[in-house]
Symmetry: D2
Subunit: 281 residues, 4 copies
């Protein structure tokens, strides 16, 4: 038996599940787990299905299901569960998110392939090397940004990258790149958005005297720190913590939140509906 992960989103109307389950039944498939949600705000139907079937040809199964759903105009994704998402990691100089993602990946907690790590600084090459992952140093200056981003797009295509993870990558992507990779770039912001957007959020948090600090993983859009949120969490802090201590405490929540978001997306559990996400956790 072959296990597949299937996701469908389309404008909501009656009959989608029946058409879909008809195709699965036809393929002698069994649904092991499924979750569906119709977003009243946008009228979007979304579903994620884990199924198994003796049908080993993913193309045929995809064609069959697409055909049956054709009149609903769906965005459909079907892949064998063991064919993992391909993720490109981008970093700058802070290594805590990278170290954490690679450690989890190494342990088998993150079901992804990582063909490439790209950085605008050379500093973290040894971390990549430790895990045997190619590391490309792609410096970015104001003048070279267009070329650097073009090269990034090329690498995404060449390595058949499913999505990009900005693991504390300290460069803002151009509007043009945000559009090109729309819905395919996850960023970790080191605050509980929408509080403390922009630079030095822990120092802002310290000045404001908040009692919890947080981190937010979100899809990147042209609007800085305004993209659809995938996951957030917070941790308690107190009056005796200095801003640098908040930075240290925050590293923990950043890496956990980013790892959760990457895992959710790697398992096809995150669906974009307008400016919000449906997360089938």
């Amino acid at each position: 038996m072959q296990r597949y992960i299937l996701t469908v989103s389309c404008p909501d109307q009656p009959g989608i599940v029946h058409a879909l389950s008809g195709g699965i039944t036809e393929a002698k498939g069994n649904i092991l787990e499924s979750a569906q949600f119709s977003d009243p705000g946008t009228g979007t139907f979304t579903i994620r299905v884990l199924l198994e079937t003796p049908q080993a040809d993913v193309e045929s199964l995809r064609d069959e299901l697409s055909l049956r759903l054709a009149r609903f105009d769906p965005v459909l994704s079907l892949r064998p569960e063991q064919q993992r998402r391909r993720v490109l990691l981008m970093v700058s100089k802070f290594d805590h998110c990278l170290v954490d993602l690679l450690y989890r990946w190494h342990l088998g907690e993150l079901p992804v392939d990582i063909p490439l790590i790209v950085s605008n600084h050379p500093d973290l090459a040894p971390v990549a090397q430790r895990y045997g992952i190619p590391f490309i140093h792609l410096p970015v200056t104001r003048d070279t940004k267009p070329e650097a981003e073009a090269e990034l797009v090329r690498l995404v295509a060449e390595h058949r990258v499913d999505f990009v993870v900005l693991a504390r990558y300290m460069q803002v992507l151009s509007d043009d790149l945000c559009r090109k990779l729309s819905g395919r770039v996850i960023n970790i912001h080191h605050s509980f958005l929408p509080g403390f957007k922009g630079a030095k959020p822990y120092h802002q948090a310290h000045d404001r005297g908040v009692k919890l600090i947080g981190a937010t993983a979100h899809f990147v859009t042209a609007d800085l720190d305004e993209g659809p949120i995938i996951e957030q969490d917070v941790v308690r802090v107190g009056h005796r913590h200095t801003a640098p201590e908040l930075v240290a405490i925050g590293r923990d929540v950043e890496r956990v939140v980013l790892a959760r978001a990457v895992r959710l997306h790697a398992e096809d559990r995150v669906v974009l509906t307008g400016s919000r996400t449906v997360v089938f956790s």
Copy 2:
């Protein structure tokens, strides 16, 4: 359009969802939200569906769906969303869970009907009265326990009670009653089970010096404090808290955990699979 909540559980095999969605499509229904899980431990298929359809006759729809699923030998429940579960509350002398449940119910947070409150003490009659709910004082002594439990069973039947909530009811139910009402009685235990079973859990917690205390909502079985868990939560405590302060702090987590469990069950989101629960939250 009429909205229904449907749940099905049965031994897992291929074709259940297709048969079910076929019945829904036949009734011109649309699935608004659904969640399915097949438990590998017990081989149990479980699904919860929120659907809407022009079919206003619940009996006809239930017959139709039952017929289509007959070969899977399902436990099937179908009810109009607005036909609320009927809940009997049982209390003794502590009022914090009762006060909280009734306040939430009054605000519309708990979609249940409460035909009756039963207590082995008269103390909380005024709380029931404030909300206009009948209160029955049903004292229990070692000698009268069988009669009292028989009366309780009669009340459950008479008031067409869907499930019973022990909101800090301080009597242990007999094995016989546990069997009769199996899967229909929710208890709140004032510890994070399986830690600190039995009496005075906060004093046990204080002696042990734990840094978090908790509460557990579970189905009642003949095995004391061993029933399937529905919901749990914890709260941080410290060295300066005395046992009585733990009791006070614990009240908060007890009432929140019980209210969540009651709401989950009232919305048909909890399915028993052996000694564990599937919770479609």
Copy 3:
């Protein structure tokens, strides 16, 4: 033996604790619990001490301690532990925070006296009445605001109120009143500040698609929702929650956060240092 709560704050310099403990020793007192913090940002020394002594005359003890600390120019507070802080509650139409505070107060969880409840609407008079607390309906229109606030100040003085709690009071206080009652008014804002200031924060949160919602208890200043934060907490939400459901979920975190803040302040555990608070929890 008499138990006292003592707090001192002053510009930091060596010798304060020794001068203080000298006074306590002189009074044959014993320190049961103390916490001290010197804020590097403002250079403020703060301490909270729980002590017991045979000295039953609070005035004498206060004079003695003040004398010994005189050269440090302290703000000093000393009171018998059993002489509780006097709190005036203000509400509008939402009752969840009021109901919760009064229930806790009734159980003995909140060590305060509540001489008075003031509201700009008559709706919640029955809640006050249930607990036998005087309720004053003090309507506020644009024209009558100065008179209403003058009356409030008069009530605060008349009832020797230590601090005022805005338990979802839906009127903004004038800058003048904020100054007059500076450091003596606690508000609960129904968001995790600094996110979602101002009106309808849960609807803002829903639109933004956050995965956690929160509440913030803070001192009121002329800067709306910018006052020093005392306590915050959050609760997890998901894509299926509508804005009205966020409102319901948020009630839980609002009432818990406000109750914690009121208790902390009632126990003299909160010290203002500039725009931040020291909380000796």
Copy 4:
């Protein structure tokens, strides 16, 4: 100016703080932060003080303070803040706690020196090597256990180790060793104690169907998994998580809880009082 961390514990009685602050004042010292607690259960006075003074000779200052406190029969510890605690790490084959502790240590989050890592297996030598820390393979069989433990005690003495951290060390220490190193060995247990003591706690947790799993850092005593608790935390899980997935999820909470406990103890914030701990966090 020199910064010192001072802790004192002794039977409670009046005058301790005054005697102590007298010594500090005499040394022209200033208390930057202090926390005191008198445990009513055991009648133990405990205090932790961060102070600064021009007195650079730690021996003299310790003698002076000890003299002043002599009549209270105190356990007193005084050290320059920058003279870090020396910690010996023990591991077996699981590396997640070790990797996490070393990464935090490398970043400066854990203010300790790590002279040595000891393991009963050779597997994790490369991790130690990466950070340039000596790694000793000390195999333990039933027959060699006494010799191995004697060697461990020798290493603790030779390297002037302040405390030992069992970072998922899978050997039970003998009663004799527990006594010798009493109050100086921290273990991480992979459950929320007192639930699920002993082996395979995640599998026990899965069978029981708990909705939260946890980890507990505690001092080691001869009573397995019964030692005084330093820190605990939990994380939410659900019906779809298998036992191996609980193991993976649990790694996160294990490493965070252990790192917090090690940091608290490294900063002299943990005081043993009987079977419980006072934690000045």
